[in-house]
Symmetry: C2
Subunit: 138 residues, 2 copies
Amino acid sequence: MSDLLERLRGRGWRMTAQRRVVAEVLNGEHVHLTADEVHARAVAKLPEISRATVYNTLGELVSLGEVLEVTTDKRAKRYDPNAHRPHHHLVCARCGAIRDVHPNGNPLADLPDAERFGFTVSDVEVTYRGLCPDCAGG
Amino acid sequence: MSDLLERLRGRGWRMTAQRRVVAEVLNGEHVHLTADEVHARAVAKLPEISRATVYNTLGELVSLGEVLEVTTDKRAKRYDPNAHRPHHHLVCARCGAIRDVHPNGNPLADLPDAERFGFTVSDVEVTYRGLCPDCAGG
DNA sequence: TCCTACAATGGACTTTGTCTAAGTCAAGCG
DNA sequence: CGCTTGACTTAGACAAAGTCCATTGTAGGA
């Protein structure tokens, strides 16, 4: 919950009104917002916050590992506050709705050494695509 | 492998110099090019080809299922001519190098019904991330 | 309280992609 | 072989998402 602010402060993050607002926005809604949507919500709480600051702050939160960057489409990055439980995404190809999902098994283990080409593989991101109930016309 | 041109002609594609050049670029290199890189290589063969045409043609090839669109980062879509064998991608987090990989198992089967939220799931895209041998300092 | 390094601002700039109106040309038809 | 026609191409304007930078502001320590 709001220990996000605690954690950040504990890490020596300099706390400013702008950063608090951005953190609150992410903390409050468990949906996947674009940078612009974060900005819009932040402006509602702190009208003079600038776009650049929102981008900077989001970037810092990602570096700190408090927020995940998700790239389900090429339109815009989305920010996922649910960084502390590993999960993947299910995306509606029509309307773009996103749900967090937890597949069985460990996809990382499914990549044999012979298919790693000497890479040090550290992460895997799975995106399921399909139609949500609304868009499927159900 | 130049049957790409054959297949396209067989599908009633109107063949123009521009389309042939784009198809040749994709057919020739088995790397994952961005639209801009495709354009650059196309220009080398046909200087007066326009950016819009490259975008249009790539979009058509994707619609026809001859080429895959890959979004491994948010910078730019990449185009994968290897559309006829299902595969996933391994991306270097530092330099962006991409390799095609073939994991074991079927990730689609690993998503239980309870995690589908009523979606009609039709596709899955797996992106492994890590460091390539060069970037890992090996 | 005062200082100073770090943060925020806003506006210009870049990158990637889309759209449109006007011109061009591949391919079928006679 | 040379029209005709509608699909294709073009250049450039436009749009969306994000980055950069010089200036101004301020959190937090001494």
